[in-house]
């Protein structure tokens, strides 16, 4: 498993779906139109979603 993963701040996320379109692993879905949800099993922490997120709602974190 990758060392890093994307973490979405649900309070900031605007659910625009840009991260979902950017994700090369299709690890992100928009949960009921409220926020982006990352499948941590699939996420490789590449950071493409973080770079694209217009709301700055995504952080790349080390897996614990």
């Amino acid at each position: 498993m990758a060392k890093k993963r994307a973490n979405v701040n649900k309070n900031i996320c605007v659910a625009c779906g840009v991260c979902r379109l950017e994700c090369p692993r299709e690890a992100i879905k928009i949960h009921q139109g409220c926020y982006a949800l990352v499948n941590e099993e699939i996420c490789v922490g590449c950071g493409l979603c973080q770079k694209a997120c217009p709301a700055n709602a995504i952080e790349i974190k080390e897996r614990i």
Partner: protein, 195 residues
């Protein structure tokens, strides 16, 4: 967007955004077609409880992406955090709805005969741009055209704001405070009881 992803017909709706403004340049009555962009996201949110329109079908968002990423017109810098804050998003929504209400009232004034049709497009709710070539009478009453001028102004202004923030910040920075996006996300949150 990730180029290996499968493209659908709705992946090309950015072309529709350009066509929309081009049509309104020649005949303002085409502005009414923009109501699709107002009604569809609400239908998706109210009926489906999702933001499928924003996520897949928003021609304006796609246009910002095409110009910002594919053409390379965006600085791709993080926007200030307050742009995506709740107070700004809901404040902008309130402002936008107030302006929409004003536009409806202007339409009513023409409908009631109190005002005459003004063939201008108002940019940024301030600057009046002559647009008389786009309307020289039709089978419809004047209030239909007045609504068109008002609605086209709203659509053009919001697109210009979106283009400015696209240039300055990330491609789809407009999405963070888009009134339709804020409204549909609010509806979705109410529906899913997820605050």
């Amino acid at each position: 967007m990730a180029n290996k992803k499968q493209k659908h017909w709705y992946s090309y709706l950015w072309i529709w955004s350009i066509i929309y403004f081009a049509l309104g340049f020649f005949n303002i009555l085409f502005a009414w077609l923009g109501m699709i962009d107002f009604i569809l996201p609400l239908v998706f949110a109210i009926v489906g409880g999702n933001k499928w329109f924003c996520n897949n079908m928003c021609g304006r968002g796609q246009l910002f992406w095409v110009l910002g990423r594919n053409v390379g017109c965006s600085r791709r810098k993080p926007a200030p955090r307050w742009l995506a804050s709740k107070w700004f998003r809901y404040g902008f929504l309130a402002f936008f709805l107030t302006m929409f209400g004003t536009m409806i009232f202007q339409t009513y004034l023409v409908f009631s005969g109190a005002n005459e049709l003004r063939k201008v497009v108002k940019l940024f709710w301030t600057f009046k741009v002559p647009w008389q070539w786009a309307y020289s009478g039709s089978i419809f009453p004047d209030w239909v055209a007045q609504f068109s001028f008002g609605f086209y102004s709203l659509m053009l202004t919001s697109t210009l704001i979106g283009l400015i923030v696209m240039l300055l910040y990330k491609e789809r920075t407009w999405c963070t405070f888009c009134p339709m996006g804020t409204m549909t996300q609010g509806i979705c949150k109410l529906k899913s009881h997820d605050k």
